[in-house]
Symmetry: D2
Subunit: 420 residues, 4 copies
């Protein structure tokens, strides 16, 4: 958290970004009813209304309350209700019970948002205070962007449980394309600098920048498509233990998995639930909603493997562009035709599972205080995903960005890029 | 199901009752938000919106659809979504997942109600058809009254999970009274006629009327009070296995029970969550929200026992009056001062656990077809409760009425009357 | 517990019975290896070695210790290890963990038996003390007989889990007989005296003798056979919810039941695991190892019902004879040809599920002290079975005898007799 | 698997080692009763008898059966009963049900061992066949050594569940020593060669040898002692979430952990269950039976961290000596006084948790066929431990050896060495 001497200059633009991001959240939740926003369809999922309140709680707790001496919390119970997992801040309402709270209502939560937004605006007129909090505000903005993605993935799960197959956005008109052939892009061995450094924002888990020795490798030019994955399914992929990690095979058997999450069969044809309702599976588009176990099994079936984080990052020294949340499609698209031999869709469309466990970089130090709980304490039994998805805000992503989920998680827009 | 020859006379009054009961349901749900109506706080609880739809589905399925040839169901999926447990009718959406459905919304469910109400009205103009369905309509009305009580007990559980302690109705001004002393009312031994017979409506589980030999017994003049129950608690009632059934003791240990459901302690004083929020425990009022296990343990501690069904019914040959849902209090009240030696509060206030397992009466025959699933198939591992509660509609109750719940259930307004 | 004035006469015969029963227990366990005696194959099952020790603990705790002032317990920890469920006596080693104890070994437990037997013998020389304990010794003898049956049913379950299908006794040569046709034996309505009275031993749950009004009924002349049950199976019995209690149907679905316990199919023919290994199902023999749920569903399919306790006992005023543990067959047999119109196999072969919940008789009083925990505290969510089985010692059974198990239990030798 | 041209020379020494290791297994199980060998005290634990049979099955399946054409399996069911997890070989008896098998008895399993040993001996006379199988025999020997350690850790768990605290070996006389002060041994940054290469045996997961860049680090000269760990406990280590990974904190709360496994308190003093029964905790000895979660939390409390695999292996270029299974102590010992500044107890005493997830080395290839299931499929949600323990055979360990367990596992002899 660095002091800025030119608070007058910084504040306005940060504030502008603050309000832009806050509005985008509300833009994303606009199509939802009060009931949609109340449901927790599984313990991993939080109700939309909770996301709307928790992101606000973050600014209230870490910015407004410390910065405005006379500030009175909007509601005394929100400290407890909307604290996600910060033990340093206090006890938390149990995560898997978020769906039993009918109050505060959606309308009250929106009022809470306006209340905190108003105080953020007020804060910006107090030059110095605001700029000294700039780093935390920046973190809060990025935090809210993470929850924008979770709002989308969580509501997708909620709606998918409903046999009425409700629609969140109208399906975009889609031109059918054939998937292009995979090319293998080679990279030589060498000691690489991995991780983030410099002035711009990054989460603490992306630092420190450090060296890793990386053997020579080849990366697939595009993600695995639905068509390729369907071949794996048809080849008995889910019935043949030889492709699976032991824990993955147990999961397949106990959960009865036989296709990616949200896939179903209608009269012999594969369909999938999307944020535009039930749609035929587009064979040319990247496969999505697969777990690490499935990604790993597919790779073994295909005679390849998943890349490590360091390999992926070595290859990802590219401009950031792609199919992100801003596009409104809310679903992965097939790759556009392109010049042969270049990497495609490294950013957007689907998160790409790496074979790397989520561990601290050498010399990693979490922040002091409550915000030190942001990342470090989750570094166990999770795998790193890279590159963002069609539900990630574009301005949120970086080549060094580390997302992470347990190997059985499937409700994120997670896909597969092969390596060898 | 008997044919009525004077359909013209019957129909109007039945229809009037139909609409009165339907409106009372909506009166009960009026104070609730769309979010309140969406929540399922435990598997036993159904969302209010589900109750609103399911009671409507009952009339649509068993009355409107068979009676109006050209009737098109309001929505094709409702057959599946709102079937509670009638295997004969078809598959059911899983009970413990009712809380994941955000659609249809509350507004759409209210529209569904109006739609079916409209067709019921239309039906009444078709004299004969309507009267031939009179018995099923009567059943549907009683069915909706049962769900009125469940709406109240379920929403109480939902709101109780919220640390904000929301209020459903304003607390009535209550005059504090001391509890009157218990008198023991004696009944001689003899062969008794038990169960329902005659023209008026009763559920199939109340028939046939039959003989049971009943030994002499004495029944307490009023239910056990909170004050008496508190003595049991203070005497180590929840820590002494000698008072408990083996299964009850296991429940106490595994669930950490140490007081009735909804009780909590604030600075050493007992409070309870009510439909009017958190309130001090009124020591003179009947204890409520105790399981069969607790009722049975309390009775053993008190040197008494619970009455059997037959004993209770023998004693209950009394006019029906008391604190019912219509009073709007939504909470048990202390007994009014009375002439010594008479039975008090046999109806209303709290359901009274009997020591009788819920079993078929000798010669019991469930109805033909789907409605045969109404009662009989639940006759296992449940205990009978008698007399109705402050959440029961008064016109719904009879001396022969048999309510039933598993011995661990506590979220109904269930209390204790002693016998010896 | 009555004082006997002629201690000298009583003691020897009681002691003789004591030693006879103790020896019979050891006769039953003789074919088992040390490993057989160590296994707990499910929480309901106890290791044979535990039964051997617990029955000994009963005599040590309730007879030897109070009667012999200077007696030192065989081992200080046995009080804790071999107490089944007597909270009054002290804490108990957890029931579902009995299978983790490898020590004391079988040899040590047999030594424990000899030690207590020796002290029992010593006790008999002390005339008065012994006779004053006569009632408890009688209870202990009956208690050990109950565990003789459990030793057989538990080891059957243990061995059944082993794909090697071990044999406990050689299969008796069996003459194949056809099942005889069922006759229906009628009984008129009337007030009946039910329960035990008089001098001879009975458990407290059989008292007091009391009146019940019983409507007229007809009882099947013999239990349901495997052949009849197989028709139910083939008619889709396990796939048609209309026959089942709601809780039973849930059990069928969650457990995947499709036949009685221990049945399997080999090349299209039904086989069952028996204490003589895997054997073809004898269609003429009584069906066995069915739960209450299955008994009840079968009865509904057959257009009949299960008898109540009172009905069964009304009919059971018969001499006690049949296929009991002493026969060594350890499996139900087909009925012998008989004079038409009489009740067959009321005793022995299979326990017969009644439709009666296990509840206290009017005026029931458990014994004072620890032995009051013997029966009463289990009167919840269990059904009564009558008549004994091929694993019950013959001298243990009476017309008033009440056995009880939860409705899902199948590992006892439990069968079906129809009523209507 | 390489062909050896001088089979005559190789065979005898390999066979000698085979028989030595087989005998050592039986030496380890000699103090156990038949009952001890039958118990499975938790799903992770296998009965001793199963270990005795499974290691034999390994040689029968992978050596004897393929090498001796006319060989008839000892028992047709053993293929199924004693296959641990090789899907390629066939279905497996469920792992968590190994404790329900009372047959084959211990005596029969010992006969099975002799039978296979005999055929192994016979095989050695057939020069070529034997030598071509040398690599698999070598694997089988190492496999049996792994099960030797599991026999010890599993029986320790079994005996620990018994309130009699049985003793497996007499406690060695122990000289009390004070723990010596920790020194920090420094290592410079650099690209390191990690993993195994060369002629001698290693598991496939130790290969291929490859480069990793390792930053400069310091390693503690000895493992954390019980005394140091006790300070952590007394400082509220198990009550302060700030030291714990999120998943670890959940484990602490749900399991009620408040000390290492096997610790208990007697009159305020810490005791621990050992293979010599209950003993006072020796404050100078290495702490043992801690999970990864506890190791990681302790390190954070101590202001240090756990080493990575690469760091540990960089430091472990040392001769192999220490307190191994051969010593017979079966418990970690305090470090002997030593020349300051050198690494102590890197081998033996306790396995040391590293912060490295168990992942394949770059270029890792599992073996072809069934033996490819040996290691690779477990590379998920496990952490690597290094250095062996007091229950590991000394000849089994190497600096490159990778042991692995889930982060919550505590029943191995697992301890902590700090790094910074």
């Amino acid at each position: 958290m660095k002091e800025t001497t030119v608070a007058e200059n910084l504040a306005p633009s940060l504030l502008t970004r603050y309000h832009t991001i806050r509005k985008f959240t509300e833009h994303l939740t606009a199509p939802l009813t009060a009931e949609d926003c109340a449901i927790q369809s599984m313990p991993d999922v939080s109700p939309t209304r909770w996301h709307l309140a928790h992101t606000t709680w973050f600014f209230e707790t870490f910015v407004v309350t410390p910065a405005i001496e006379e500030y009175k919390p909007f509601h005394p119970a929100f400290q407890y209700l909307y604290n996600s997992y910060y033990n340093t801040v206090g006890e938390q309402f149990p995560r898997d019970r978020r769906g039993v709270l009918s109050r505060p209502t959606l309308a009250q939560v929106m009022e809470y948002r306006r209340h905190v937004d108003e105080h953020m605006r007020e804060l910006s007129t107090k030059g110095t205070a605001f700029s000294s909090l700039a780093a935390i505000i920046e973190l809060g903005i990025n935090h809210e962007q993470q929850h924008q993605e979770l709002i989308l993935t969580d509501i997708k799960h909620v709606l998918s449980c409903n046999p009425l197959y409700p629609t969140y956005v109208a399906a975009p008109a889609r031109e059918r394309r054939d998937a292009e052939r995979v090319a293998w892009i080679g990279f030589p061995e060498g000691t690489r600098w991995i991780g983030h450094s410099g002035e711009s924002f990054a989460f603490d888990n992306e630092a420190p920048r450090h060296r890793e020795f990386v053997d020579a490798f080849e990366l697939a030019s595009r993600p695995v498509t639905n068509g390729e994955y369907l071949e794996f399914v048809k080849d008995g992929g889910y019935r043949r233990p030889e492709f699976w990690l032991s824990a993955g095979w147990q999961q397949v058997r106990s959960s009865g998995w036989n296709a990616p999450l949200y896939w179903t069969e209608i009269e012999g044809e594969p369909y999938q639930f999307t944020l535009s309702g039930l749609q035929p599976v587009d064979l040319a588009a990247p496969v999505c909603h697969v777990s690490y176990f499935e990604a790993d099994a597919f790779a073994r079936w295909a005679g390849a493997r998943l890349p490590t984080e360091a390999e992926w990052e070595t290859a990802a020294d590219l401009p950031i562009a792609g199919n992100f949340a801003e596009s409104g499609a809310m679903h992965p698209s097939p790759a556009f035709p392109h010049r042969s031999g270049s990497l495609r869709q490294m950013f957007g469309d689907v998160w790409e599972w790496t074979s790397s466990s989520y561990t601290p970089y050498p010399g990693y130090k979490p922040a002091e205080g409550a915000l030190g709980e942001y990342n470090g304490k989750f570094m166990c039994n999770q795998y790193v995903l890279r590159g963002g998805s069609c539900a990630t805000p574009q301005s949120h992503i970086r080549p060094t960005y580390r997302n992470f989920f347990p190997p059985e998680a499937r409700w994120q827009f997670s896909g597969i890029r092969l390596c060898r």
